[in-house]
């Protein structure tokens, strides 16, 4: 554990990608196979099952530290990370441990069926022989959420460095439904032929956002444009008469989408399609929210299938007749895809992602502005000659998103923030005018500089009307421009609308409060943009 904790500290101490890769590779090289496999598992979001609930962990930590639970909770609020809050609060350890990472993972797994008192004594015993970082790691192993700035891509690079196997092969081998309980480092990483497993998807190629216009990309004729849909990125695989659907989170979601099941027979063996799973009805996309609700349900009922049917908007063909096409140019892959979808046998659940025709970049600017009319989020630009790469790479694929929607709103409630900002008011509720009344419609907590947060905090202190716990109502005085990505009807909100990704674009100090937008403005936006 000490070595893994050291790795954790070192990774945490640098922001440089290459240093992280080197540190991780060095660790993997020296670790035994069990620790290696678990490290790879943890860094690809495969953690052991949770065997202790967090409420108990908080109680035990507060008790051990000799502080009241409320003070622990407040401290946790400030730290923002429960594992860290516990590690910071616990008293000094009484001993040391020499055990490995895998030992502690097995220790955590073994807590599962125990009585609460027994769990407590084991967890406390573990804490008492660990230093700060070991406790932090141990807590994270129990609770999950191992975010230490090491993406899967980075982990794969390190693993490649340590094993000498190339990154794409490794990315492929690591996909799918494995856990360290059911495989070994040898089987999973070193020996297994990925083609043996018919369900294995290819790593997704992810686009970067285009921050400026496309002019810098070069000659327009070298590029194609498609609409960017707001669905779930998916990979559809038919091999040996079986269908598999993978989402970008590397989750096997075949069961969630019975609509696609007939494709197992309709598509030839050895076909892999990349596309967007989109809620779609009467020739139109539905809102992303509907899809999210559908996915959240345990059972896919007939009613849901009727209410929120899905299609796959196909934009790439990765495998055809059992052959990996990823090294072929996009143009070629797309031709095959068009041919496949043009066949009479193809199901109506598969739509071709249409090209947006253009010969000059300026024409696309217009298309991007109008993206919301098509219920899309903007445009995708892809180089005709591009191969299909693994992970997020710059250069060949770009997403060019539509500008956010904006509205000027009045701040009416303020709440304390987290972490270093726990003494600042950073979470605000905003309202728009409805006649003479202010109707709250959204919260936002990001987008201002620390200086602005300090300024508004000092104002909040002086202009509080009422306090409700950590929340204060304030005099309606300040107008903020709120940016958001989408708007939809909501029966849960008094305003009747809900926003996607709202944030503060700027503090409109120039704007009198009476000139903020109205509820009617919001409802008009709803009419134009809901989708």
């Amino acid at each position: 554990m000490e070595r893994f904790a050291q790795l954790f500290t070192r990774l945490d101490q640098t922001t440089k990608i290459n240093t992280k890769v080197d540190e991780l590779a060095a660790y993997l090289k020296a670790a035994d196979d069990d620790d290696r496999l678990w490290t790879v598992a943890i860094l690809s979001s495969r953690r052991p099952k949770r065997t202790v609930n967090t409420t108990l962990l908080r109680q035990w930590a507060a008790e051990l530290a000799g502080i009241p639970l409320w003070l622990f909770e407040e401290s946790y609020h400030v730290v923002g990370d429960l594992s860290e809050a516990i590690a910071l609060t616990l008293p000094k350890p009484s001993g040391k441990n020499e055990q490995s990472l895998s030992y502690w993972i097995e220790y955590i797994k073994a807590l599962d069926k125990l009585e609460e008192a027994e769990k407590k004594s084991r967890v406390v015993a573990a804490w008492q022989q660990m230093d700060y970082t070991e406790r932090l790691v141990f807590n994270k192993l129990i609770m999950g959420g191992f975010r230490i700035g090491v993406s899967q891509k980075l982990m794969v690079r390190a693993l490649s460095k340590c094993t000498g196997i190339d990154e794409n092969t490794l990315a492929h081998r690591l996909m799918g439904d494995w856990t360290p309980d059911r495989t070994t480092f040898e089987d999973l990483i070193l020996t297994k032929d990925p083609l043996e497993d018919v369900s294995k998807p290819y790593p997704f190629y992810l686009a970067y956002a285009l921050e400026e216009g496309p002019e810098g990309l070069g000659a327009p004729e070298e590029w194609i444009a498609e609409r960017k849909w707001d669905g779930i990125r998916g990979q559809l695989i038919v091999r040996k008469g079986e269908l598999f659907v993978w989402s970008r989170g590397e989750e096997l979601v075949t069961d969630k989408f019975p609509e696609f099941h007939p494709l197992a027979e309709q598509l030839p063996d050895g076909t892999v399609i990349d596309g967007e799973i989109l809620p779609y009805k009467d020739g139109q996309p539905l809102s992303f929210n509907e899809l999210q609700t559908r996915i959240g349900r345990k059972n896919v009922t007939k009613k849901i299938l009727e209410k929120v049917p899905v299609v796959l908007v196909a934009y790439d063909l990765l495998e055809w007749e059992g052959e990996d096409l990823r090294e072929q140019p996009l143009e070629h892959r797309r031709k095959l895809l068009e041919k496949l979808l043009g066949q009479a046998t193809a199901s109506h659940q598969l739509l071709l992602s249409e090209l947006v025709p253009f010969s000059q970049w300026e024409e696309l600017e217009e298309e991007r502005r109008n993206a919301r009319q098509y219920h899309s989020e903007g445009l995708m630009l892809k180089k005709r000659a591009s191969v299909y790469r693994a992970g997020r790479r710059k250069g060949d694929w770009w997403k060019w998103k539509v500008d956010p929607l904006t509205i000027d709103a009045v701040m009416i409630y303020a709440q304390r923030g987290h972490g270093r900002r726990a003494n600042l008011y950073t979470d605000f509720t905003f309202a728009v005018w409805d006649e003479d009344a202010l109707v709250p419609f959204t919260k936002a907590y990001s987008g201002l500089t620390d200086k602005e947060f300090r300024e508004i905090t000092s104002w909040v202190h002086r202009n509080t009307l009422e306090r409700f716990g950590p929340v204060r109502s304030v005099e309606p005085k300040h107008v903020f421009e709120i940016a958001f990505e989408g708007i939809r009807k909501s029966t849960r909100h008094k305003s009747g609308v809900a926003l996607r990704f709202p944030r503060m674009l700027r503090w409109r100090k120039d704007k009198p409060v009476r000139e903020a937008n109205t509820l009617e403005d919001l409802h008009q936006m709803l009419e134009v943009y809901e989708g």
Partner: protein, 337 residues
Amino acid sequence: MALLEFTEKGIYCAAAGVYIDPWRPVDRALITHGHADHSRWGHKHYLFTRSAAPVIRHRLGNIRHDTVEYGEVTRINGVSFSFHPAGHIVGSAQIRVEHKGEVWVASGDYKVEDDGLSEAFEPVRCHTFITESTFGLPVYRWKQQKKVFTQINEWWKQNQADGKASIIGVYALGKAQRVLAGVDSSIGPIHTHGAIENTNEVMRRQGITLPKTTRITREVKAADLEGSLVLATPSATGSNWMKRFKKASVGIASGWMALRGTRRRRSADRGFVLSDHADWTGLNEAITATGAERVVVTHGYTNLFARYLREERGLDAWEAQTEYEGESLDKDDDSED
């Protein structure tokens, strides 16, 4: 009427007609220490310790003032005032106020660990103690400074071996000199940002020994900086000023570095947990040592710390609204802490 009250202008002693660390202009101000949120512009007359004077006068220029020695009693309208070491920065003081047998202590900012540079904190018995609570939560517990300086030295040596400069973001007044006094200056040359070197010069003139430092000017070449330790103001570490360094590692020394999230948001390579404020243990010990039954909690986690003192320690504690800023990570001249 209480001996000290919190008014719109500052901490007011009505019996004497004077303010402690006022944030609005007043006639007579008693100042705990030289940080800008405690010693502000525009008062007609100032009183502070002799060792705080050079820095305060460097910042505020030509002001009307008197100085006192630690422990010396100044009587104003029958109220006795005396200054006692707060251990926060050079010259920092807690101000003891006594009137008709009642004793209050306004501590300004303080830390209990002796940093070897500031006059070491001395607990002062009182009935009412005004405490800060910048780090008044149990998650803030400092390591011994010796261990932190070992970390800084190791980091410096490693960077030196890699041909990098070690740039550390610190406040010009207080933290900069503490780091200078704490690091192993035999490792290599030390360079300073101009704002920090100005304060160093003021302190050297008052007889404080600091290791040799070189001010970074246009004449300093990139090659000179390789392998050296560089003390920079926090804002310089995010500005064009950094362009002069070919290869560098950036660290920040602050109590806030105890939290990983804070350090990540600052995107520093390294965070060193080093503060001139008392940690959770220090605050609690200091309060115990005063024997005070009443505690007024100012800047920091005021409401939480006051509630803890009330409910868990049985003290008559409450929070007071002030305009002190605590240890800030965002602004930087010498106005912090």
